[in-house]
């Protein structure tokens, strides 16, 4: 079953991501991005990282996606993509893709069957965050605050 789900989710995610990268209607593309993220979250569920999945949904779909669509709205003047494909970009992306695939396939030590592990509970994550990762956590908190203020300052209208 997980195999089927994996394939379905992969197809969904990659398709949505591709749509994001190519759709000319910006709003559609943005929503496709949301869909891709949803797929990614499903991946995380599938891999047993429920918390990360939920956090991804919470943060990206609940917040970042809304921000993105808002930004698109606020810069509405060109909500349609400018024409012309940047072929060099496509080329580079494809080259990178090939390189990565080649690297993955070439590496032998990766073919491991998934070990049976006990689920990682939220409580464990919380404890780890509060013990071993306290400093990073605080730093991230500081970073978020700074980002919040910075964003506000950037967006605030300059007083005349």
């Amino acid at each position: 079953m997980s195999g089927v789900a994996f394939i379905l989710i992969s197809i969904l995610t990659l398709a949505a991501a591709l749509a994001t990268a190519t759709l000319p209607n910006l709003m559609h593309a943005a929503f496709c991005f949301v869909l891709a993220l949803l797929g990614l979250a499903s991946f995380f569920f599938l891999l047993g990282a429920e918390f990360v999945g939920l956090a991804l949904v919470f943060i990206y779909i609940g917040a970042v996606a809304v921000l993105i669509v808002f930004t698109i709205l606020l810069t509405r003047r060109d909500s349609k993509e400018h024409h012309g494909v940047n072929w060099s970009g496509v080329l580079i992306a494809f080259a990178v893709f090939v390189g990565l695939i080649w690297a993955v396939l070439k590496t032998q030590s990766l073919s491991i069957v998934p070990p049976h592990i006990r689920a990682l509970t939220v409580r464990q994550i919380g404890q780890t965050l509060m013990t071993g990762y306290v400093w990073p956590l605080q730093c991230v908190g500081l970073l978020l605050t700074a980002a919040l203020i910075g964003a506000l300052v950037l967006v605030m209208e300059e007083k005349k």
Binding site: M1, M27, H28, F31, V34, E50, F51, L54, A55, V57, F58, I61, G62, A63, A65, V66, V69, F70, L73, A119, T121, V122, R123
Partner: protein
């Protein structure tokens, strides 16, 4: 006897599952989920119908009129009639609308609302999806509402829709912060994100009569009030129904909707209301626990739905009583009062915890809340009856 009555729905599900006992595991899993979903849908759609008519009747009573009383006994079949009307109305889609998103918006909205209902424990052993991070799930999924509202507003290609959607998102964003932060104290105190555990933690009684619901602690009471108000905003209910203020922007993001899509929005709003109320009951009002030990013989789900009904009644009551707020005042309250108070609840809960969870902690946390509340009142008091009107949030 009472235990049997209490667990009657659980037993019923097990009985149903015993029909497919031989099937592979994933089949059983899917069937089990389906049963849960179907049960949820039946219960809440019925509740929706019931509440929609009851609301109109209660509003009527409060405004000194009868309300619907023509269709069926006491007008109870009114929702059926409404449903038929909605179904057979023409489904109008504006010509320049984004068809796909226009269609998807109400669907997503309703789906999200139903999903959030899944993690709430309705009775002993009666949780549809038992997820480790249930609370997180509730809010993570719930946050998709904003996206759906935006979709509706944008796809309609109508300035009223867009404005309404903007307003809705702004207010939902603002109040989502206090909503989530007020949950934190309960989560902290219990040490789990699982709604069942939280309900379970409130199951004791002091002296056998006073339940240890969180609402009876100072931080709990404050958090409950904040949560409830934020919930009102989240579900766009009066007095915070600014996004669909008909006198200003027709019907907000729902302007271009008609027929069954409109009904779906309606449904989603009510389901959202149920979900938030249910979460409030779970977090602060002891979930399905009885208010006294002697009353435990009454089945747990009845307690839950009793409490839920009480909260719903308050929703309707408020709608009958209060006028619509002004959007800038609302925003001011969210950022300047609700948010600091929500953080204070977290601190007060910590104080309560380290004060020994007894009377001492109770008093200390009360002190914390009172001090911060007073300070905020003084600082926010502009000595004017109304704050100066600003349009920053509405732009």
């Amino acid at each position: 006897m009472s235990s049997a009555l209490d667990q009657i729905f659980v037993h019923a599900k097990h009985w149903l599952l015993s029909w497919i006992a031989g099937a592979p595991g994933w089949v059983v899993q899917i069937v089990s989920s389906l049963i849960n979903i179907v049960a949820l849908l039946i219960v809440f759609l019925t509740l929706f119908a019931l509440i929609s008519v009851l609301e109109r009747k209660i509003l009527g009573r409060m405004q000194n009129r009868y309300g619907p009383n023509r269709v069926g006994p006491f007008g109870l079949f009114q929702p059926v009639a409404d449903g038929i009307k909605m179904l057979i109305k023409e489904d109008i889609v504006p010509a320049r609308a984004d068809k796909v998103l226009h269609f998807l918006a109400p669907v997503i909205l309703a789906a999200v609302a139903i999903l959030t209902l899944g993690v709430i424990p309705y009775g002993r052993n009666m949780t549809a999806f038992r997820i480790d991070g249930g609370i997180l799930f509730f809010f993570a999924v719930g946050s998709a509402t904003e996206l759906a509202v935006f979709m509706a507003g944008w796809a309609s290609n109508n300035k009223f829709s867009m404005l309404g959607a903007m307003r809705a998102i702004a207010q939902m964003f603002s109040y989502e912060l206090p909503l989530i932060i007020t949950v934190l104290p309960a989560v902290m105190v219990v040490g789990s994100l699982m709604p069942d555990r939280i309900v379970f933690a409130q199951g004791e009684y002091t002296l056998g009569i006073v339940p240890r619901w969180f609402v009876f602690t100072p931080w709990g009471a404050a958090a409950f009030i904040l949560f409830f108000v934020s919930g009102l905003v989240e579900s766009n209910r009066t007095p915070f129904d600014v996004p669909e203020g008909e006198s200003e922007i027709v019907a907000g993001h729902m302007t271009e909707y008609s027929g069954f899509k409109y009904a779906t929005f309606f449904l989603a709003e009510y389901l959202g209301m149920f979900a938030v109320s249910g979460m409030a009951v779970t977090l602060f009002l002891g979930g399905w626990h009885a208010p006294a030990r002697v009353l435990e013989f009454v089945p747990s789900y009845l307690w839950f739905f009793g409490k839920l009904s009480a909260l719903l009644f308050v929703y309707i009551w408020l709608r009958a009583t209060l006028p619509r707020t002004r959007v800038d005042q609302m925003m001011n309250v969210a950022w300047k009062f609700m948010l600091p108070m929500a953080f204070t609840c977290v601190i007060a809960a910590a104080v309560w915890h380290y004060g020994g969870r007894g009377l001492r902690g109770w008093l200390w946390s009360l002190l914390v809340i009172v001090v911060v509340y007073s300070a905020l009142s003084i600082l926010l008091d502009t000595r004017r009856k109304f704050a100066r009107r600003v349009y920053r949030f509405a732009e």
